[in-house]
């Protein structure tokens, strides 16, 4: 390695290798791909929230110019393939399995939400397919419908799936009810409130797309798709839907323009284009419109909850009780049941040493788009509940909200800490992250800023959220007991080429996270090879041995750890080769900075010399070692990782309009060891942007029947740059104790920690009004309504 080369290892803010490609328009996304002879598919979708399909007449459409084929739910059913599988089964309180009604690839006999696909039109061009789709006559008999969880569980509500009583897929619980009830019975204080976690539409910049292809010469299928986890799609679609052996199904997820969870799931369109390809004997391509994405991408959040906290006279938390109705939408999406259960209720301890917790969660079907994991997935919902509840308790007890948090934090010397809701936190230092956040945000100086704002006629508020979350979902044997229908390890294959450059094949997938840089840094740091000689390959099941993909902030903690294991094997083999070449014993060979050296001497071989010897084994311990220098590792995590932190938000509300401006946002996060601080800061900034979006702007609004009112960017408020402050990001690091890198994950902390900080600030700004809680999003008319109701004279300025 060149001695004057800039430091590229762990801890360096190396610029992202992939950005030149992305910023200069040379990214290669699924829609950029065009296969020889390809056709174009368009899906005709239900305009009804719930209806019986009486007839589908596609005769006229079939005769339209350019039409290649039209398939309906009846065709799919007749072909005998399976429905879309759910990848996580949870159990009811009584131990019985959840209700898991079929999710057909194309709706048959019944549509259950606006956007449910009814027919697939395949034509020479996309415009011709759209023309033909408009010519299909579908006779519907509209049925009653339910759009909200409260309506869906009400007595006499329409059943979204016949025979699923009270529209309840599962009635699940965690924790000890009797002990928790007893804690409440003896408490000096109890507080409670009702809250809603608003439904969100993910809106990744790149809409979904898929191309299905079939090669009859070898019976091989290829699916190009916008996925965060191509191996998972191969497994689910091959094994459960289309009955294709994995050996004959290749899934490619090339550059993907953002996922945020919405591209984890196996979607109907992927299966449909793959199923259709051999039938039309040509590749079939589908690209989602933005408007179509609103009614076909899985949505996020959508909880309705009741939360109660018991405290002793000094404000110590004695117990927490939670009841949540979680909207599943019309069907169980791939990981939907895990989100409001094992990714939500297990986080209800938060940062606090609450001795007992009992949570009941019902997963409820409605006539809406399916709901599944969205950046944070369950943990934002838990954090919003806890961190609002602590502020509600502070107000009720008169204890300062910072002091109340401090009194209840799990102490830094109490780790590993077993919570009453299954998780064991391995490390953290919540008092220190709080101290840093208070200092960085000048919490102490707030009242002066509030007074200054008041002089300008503005209501200024400050809010804090101290959160913990769980990343790197694991270990496989535990999640298996909890209902996961897959393992949750990760795979790395590291190939040192003969001349010393390195290719890393990872089962994770990068769709904005900068893996090509972070992983290359990780390899460079250990192997002593410059980053420009390290390439990271992801997103193709034909090139990568296996993998579980990228979600839940797992890529570095799990995927990076697999790389460390693979590098351990490479280094060991390299030491054996070096021992042979240097005529030394294995124990005496050290590896550092790209060189294998006999300890205490200057006798050494570079990695390049060793790799060349491995591939040109003329002088080589051939009886003991195979040639080549390539290793594969599967890493199964020992525990989740537990990023934590403190977020402080400061807002000003214009009482005349109800508009909120986020003046300042401070994030102090403990994400464990940081490989690339610039990328981590970007991840936190982006996550906070989404959190502020949830808190103030975003809301998927359905009417009572199930029509999506915020069905486009004209009505769905995505956060824009001018809605956001410059987020001050810093770190307080405690290392993860159970993975070899000490990393915890940074992809979701921003979206998890920020929403309650924002709402706590808004509620604080309105401290002179009688406000306990404000549901998200805190829109101008909502806040103006509160202000106006209390002080009509003031509201008109």
């Amino acid at each position: 390695m060149n001695a004057i080369a800039p430091f590229e290892g762990i801890g360096a803010s190396v610029k992202r290798k992939e950005d030149l490609r992305f910023l200069s328009g040379r990214g290669r996304y699924t829609d950029d791909m065009n296969r020889p002879g390809q056709t174009h598919a368009v899906f005709l979708r239900s305009p009804h929230p719930h209806a019986r399909i009486d007839a589908v007449d596609s005769a006229a459409a079939r005769a339209m110019p350019g039409v290649v084929a039209i398939f309906t739910g009846a065709d799919i059913k007749a072909s005998g393939i399976g429905g879309l599988p759910c990848g996580w089964g949870v159990k009811n309180k009584d131990g019985t399995p959840m209700a898991e009604p079929a999710h057909p690839v194309l709706a048959h006999e019944r549509v259950r939400h606006v956007g449910d696909p009814v027919a697939m039109v395949i034509a020479e061009t996309r415009a011709q397919a759209k023309d033909a789709a408009e010519a299909i006559m579908v006779s519907y008999t509209p049925l009653g419908s339910v759009a909200t969880v409260t309506a869906a569980v009400a007595p006499g509500a329409t059943e979204v799936h016949e025979g699923v009583a009270a529209n309840t897929s599962f009635d699940w619980h965690i924790g000890d009810k009797a002990i928790t009830d007893a804690a409440f019975a003896g408490a000096a204080h109890t507080v409670s409130f009702d809250l809603v976690n608003n439904r969100l539409v993910p809106n990744a910049m790149e809409p979904r797309a898929a191309i299905g292809e079939f090669d009859p010469t070898n019976d091989e299928y290829t699916l190009y798709t916008t996925s965060q986890n191509p191996h998972v799609i191969r497994l689910l679609m091959g094994a459960f839907v289309l009955n294709i052996p994995e050996s004959r199904l290749r899934v490619v997820a090339p550059d993907v323009g953002g996922g945020f969870g919405s591209k984890i799931f196996h979607y109907a369109e992927e299966a449909a284009v793959t199923w259709a390809a051999p039938r039309v004997k040509r590749p079939v391509k589908w690209t989602c419109d933005r408007t179509e994405a609103f009614i076909s991408d899985a949505h996020g959040r959508d909880h309705v909850s009741h939360a109660e906290l018991a405290l002793d006279k000094d404000g110590k938390f004695l117990g927490l009780r939670v009841q949540t109705l979680a909207n599943m939408g019309a069907y169980l999406s791939t990981f939907a049941p895990a989100v409001p259960t094992y990714l939500y209720a297990t986080l209800l301890a938060g940062c606090y040493a609450t001795p007992t917790i009992y949570a009941e969660v019902k997963g409820v079907f409605t006539n809406t788009v399916a709901v599944d994991a969205y950046r944070g997935a369950g943990r934002p919902e838990a954090t919003f509940l806890i961190e609002r509840l602590v502020d509600v308790a502070a107000k009720a007890t008169g204890i300062d909200r910072i002091e109340l948090r401090r009194r209840n934090f799990i102490p830094a010397d109490a780790f590993p800490y077993q919570t009453p809701v299954a998780l064991e936190y391995d490390s953290g230092d919540y008092q220190s992250t709080l101290d840093m956040a208070l200092a960085a945000s000048d919490w102490a100086g707030f009242e002066a800023r509030r007074s200054a704002a008041a002089a300008k006629g503005k209501l200024r508020g400050i809010g804090i959220s101290t959160y913990v979350e769980a990343c790197g979902i694991a270990p496989s044997h535990v999640v298996g007991q909890l209902g996961a229908r897959a393992g949750l390890y990760e795979v790395a294959n590291i190939r040192v080429h003969p001349t010393g450059s390195i290719t890393v094949f990872t089962g994770t997938h990068s769709h904005g996270q900068g893996h090509e840089t972070t992983f290359a840094q990780l390899i460079a740091d250990r192997m002593g090879v410059p980053m420009n000689q390290i390439d990271v390959v992801h997103g193709d099941t034909s090139r990568i041995p296996f993998g579980m993909g990228t979600y839940g902030s797992r890529s570095l903690a799990v995927g990076g750890s697999a790389m460390v294991k693979a590098m351990d094997k490479i280094v060991l083999k390299g030491r054996k080769i070096a021992a042979h070449l240097l005529e030394a014993s294995l124990e005496d060979i050290e590896f550092e900075g790209g060189k294998f050296r006999v300890a205490g001497t200057d006798r050494e071989k570079t990695l390049t010399e060793i790799s060349l010897a491995a591939y040109v084994p003329h002088n080589y311990p051939i009886d003991e070692l195979e040639p080549g220098l390539e290793e594969t590792a599967f890493y199964d995590p020992k525990n989740f990782t537990y990023p934590a932190g403190a977020h402080v938000c400061e807002v000003e509300i214009d009482p005349a309009t109800g508009q909120t401006e986020v003046i300042a946002f401070t994030a102090v996060d403990d994400v464990g060891r940081v490989i690339n601080p610039m990328i981590v800061e970007g991840q936190v900034q982006g996550g906070v942007a989404q959190g502020i979006g949830q808190a103030l702007l975003e809301h998927a609004v359905y009417d009572a029947e199930g029509q999506l009112l915020s069905g486009s960017l004209m009505d769905y408020t995505m956060p824009r740059a001018d809605d956001l402050p410059n987020v001050a990001v810093s770190h307080h690091t405690t290392l993860c104790t159970h993975n070899p890198l000490g990393v915890k994950g940074c992809g979701e902390v921003g979206a998890i920690g920020s929403p309650p900080a924002v709402i706590n600030a808004v509620v604080d700004a309105l401290r002179d009004y009688d406000v306990t809680h404000i549901n998200m999003p805190a829109t101008p008319p909502k806040l103006w309504g509160i202000i106006n109701a209390a002080r009509p004279a003031l509201a008109a300025e």
């Binding site: 415009a127 759209k130 023309d131 408009e134 408007t291 005349a656 309009t657 109800g658 508009q659 702007l697 809301h699 609004v701 009112l709 915020s710 960017l713 004209m714 009505d715 769905y716 408020t717 995505m718 809605d723 829109t779 101008p780 008319p781 103006w784 309504g785 106006n788 509201a795 008109a796 300025e797």
Partner: protein
């Protein structure tokens, strides 16, 4: 998008001739409303008559106490025109708040006015300033031109040529944007000009309208305080997921005050 014929005439006469010969043809200026509608298959014209090749539709000039703005003049040109900035700064300011840079570099004043979207900005300025609408065959007053939501007095084959704005003594504009679309939720343009003291409201109702109580209050006393007590009747105002009619009615008062402050 459905198929359509495309024409790019170079004179007003040719454009009118094409439109007159084909009742299903539509003129397109900046295309910011029409093109998305076409893409969503919500509109199926037989032909688009692209007005961007007609040089005489563009440009900003001052004739005496009137500013004449060609219908194809883009928002960005209105926002940055020295003529408008010195004569009617509130109009330049209004143009600078429309959409974003890309929108302002494509969208045109004539296109916006002829579309008469209730949430568009310009109708309030035209109404408050007492603008005159010059078409290929006549001149219309603002109160005759605007006929309610997405409707104007223009015949299907009639082209808006230019808008004549009398230079006011003073004028001001304030609005609250829809957080999602960034169109106007409620915008108020106040002017003290040739047409008297006028207060015109966009965004809040099904079309631009004058707030006569505010006009009376300002005629008696031109000050923000004078309009603080004006109560807009919410009846008939827009109500949607972004705000109730009551909220918009309240905003009329707030934005009127702010527009007066803006006018100075």
């Amino acid at each position: 998008m459905y198929d359509f014929a495309y024409h790019k005439p170079t004179s007003i006469a040719d454009a009118v001739k094409i439109l007159a010969a084909d009742p299903d043809a539509k003129p397109v200026s900046g295309g910011h409303t029409l093109l998305p509608a076409l893409k969503h298959r919500l509109n199926q014209p037989s032909a688009l008559v692209d007005l961007s090749g007609i040089a005489e539709l563009r440009g900003i000039k001052r004739e005496g106490d009137t500013i004449i703005i060609g219908a194809m003049t883009r928002h960005g040109e209105v926002a940055t025109s020295d003529i408008i900035k010195s004569a009617i700064p509130a109009l330049a300011h209004m143009a600078s708040t429309i959409g974003d840079t890309q929108v302002r570099n494509r969208g045109t004043m004539g296109g916006s006015l002829a579309n008469n979207d209730p949430a568009a900005d310009y109708p309030a300025a035209a109404m408050a300033l007492g603008a005159k609408f010059q078409t290929d065959r006549r001149t219309l007053a603002a109160e005759d031109f605007f006929q309610g939501m997405f409707t104007t007095a223009l015949e299907p084959d009639e082209l808006l040529i230019a808008i004549h704005f009398p230079v006011p003594k003073k004028a001001g504009y304030a609005k609250l944007k829809n957080p999602a679309s960034r169109y106007s939720m409620c915008g108020v343009f106040v002017a003290d000009g040739a047409a008297g003291i006028r207060v015109a409201v966009n965004g809040a109702g099904p079309g631009v309208f004058r707030q006569e109580a505010a006009e009376a209050a300002l005629s008696a006393n031109w000050s923000p305080e004078a309009v603080a007590g004006v109560k807009q009747d919410p009846d008939g105002l827009n109500s949607d997921i972004h705000g109730s009619a009551e909220y918009r009615a309240h905003l009329v008062t707030v934005m009127t005050k702010r527009a007066v402050l803006d006018a100075g």
